[in-house]
Symmetry: C2
Subunit: 204 residues, 2 copies
């Protein structure tokens, strides 16, 4: 009952876009409203601060977009090392597209926002952490499967997953800083190297 609206969704999308492109601290509520085509009064009807909006935007983006992509890339129907290689390749392909559309390599919004806000905004930090932890689990599971089939040496899969994740996010952030896709090109190979799967990789 009552009026319907997609203003909330437009705000979520505009916020993530702007914050990803610029940064959390520098993006104003006014700018988000303008991009979303929403008046500030309406903003405060839906959210009560930039922080609240950012958390909702990160969550929405992961639940509505990210998760399904990761599920497909890490599908159990693929050989475990192919999942990792394919994922890393898709990261590169994705950033190629981002660079074409935005004119710059932007990296991973969750990681950038998380790093920026971690010491100032506990709620955003916690949401970013939650999403990132959730992503690490995809790596961990693939590594465990690889170990089970013997394509990767045994060892602490959780630790290896963290390591691989650091390589992945570090490369993305580096690519953003230098606006250079070269940091991502070698990611598929380097990922398998770091897991000690060199021989397997060559065979694949």
């Amino acid at each position: 009952m009552g009026r319907t609206s997609d203003a909330k969704e437009r705000l979520l999308e505009a916020a993530l876009d702007l914050i990803w492109e610029r940064s959390y601290g520098v993006v104003t509520i006014d700018a988000i409203c303008e991009k979303a085509g929403v008046k500030k009064g309406s903003f405060y009807y839906f959210f009560d601060s930039k922080s609240t909006l950012a958390v909702a935007a990160l969550n929405e983006n992961w639940i509505q977009d990210g998760k399904a992509k990761w599920d497909a890339l890490f599908s159990a129907s693929l050989p475990p090392l192919e999942r990792i290689r394919g994922f890393m390749q898709s990261v590169y392909d994705g950033q190629v597209k981002v660079q074409k559309e935005h004119g710059k390599v932007l990296g991973c919004p969750c990681f950038s926002i998380g790093s920026e806000t971690s010491t100032q905004d506990e709620v955003i930090r916690a949401k970013a952490q939650e999403i990132l932890q959730s992503q690490i689990r995809y790596f961990e599971s693939a590594i465990r499967d690889a170990q089970a089939e013997g394509s990767v040496p045994p060892g602490d899969a959780a630790a290896k997953a963290k390591c691989l994740f650091a390589l992945f996010e570090g490369s993305l952030a580096q690519a953003r800083i230098q606006n250079d896709l070269d940091f991502l090109r070698t990611l598929p190979d380097a990922s398998l190297d770091i897991l000690g799967a060199r021989s397997l990789k060559v065979a694949a």
Copy 2:
């Protein structure tokens, strides 16, 4: 001739501290002035914007502090893999200290600021890039030496260095986001793993 002052140095230090602890976008000129014990008029006597100050602060920090530390850690008097292992260990030790002093893991200021400002402030971006590139060269050189003595398999040393650097910075950023030193504890071992020096590492 005229009055002397260390206000400029105090501003540089206060700026780096605040930006490292919080973020570039959120730190105001007023806050920097307050921390440095300097009036805003004096700020504008020495610098003409927050951006200019940030660039000078990054540069000062690298030239006066960072470089000498890296030189010592990557001293050619050490076996190449010991340089890398020792460096990674010192990163961990350093962040333990940071956590004690600031209450939080803060990661690498250059990388954080670089990532945050890369799309908005070309001058800061360029300075961060310059410093980071310069740091990658330490890795590259150590890797080349390791390859020469046969403790690491041959291959594109520049690419391997980028990779190792991504792992290193990614781990630091991750540690910042989660405020958790665990992401750094395994860095020394993981670094040698990624270079394919596992057997050597065990021997060391």
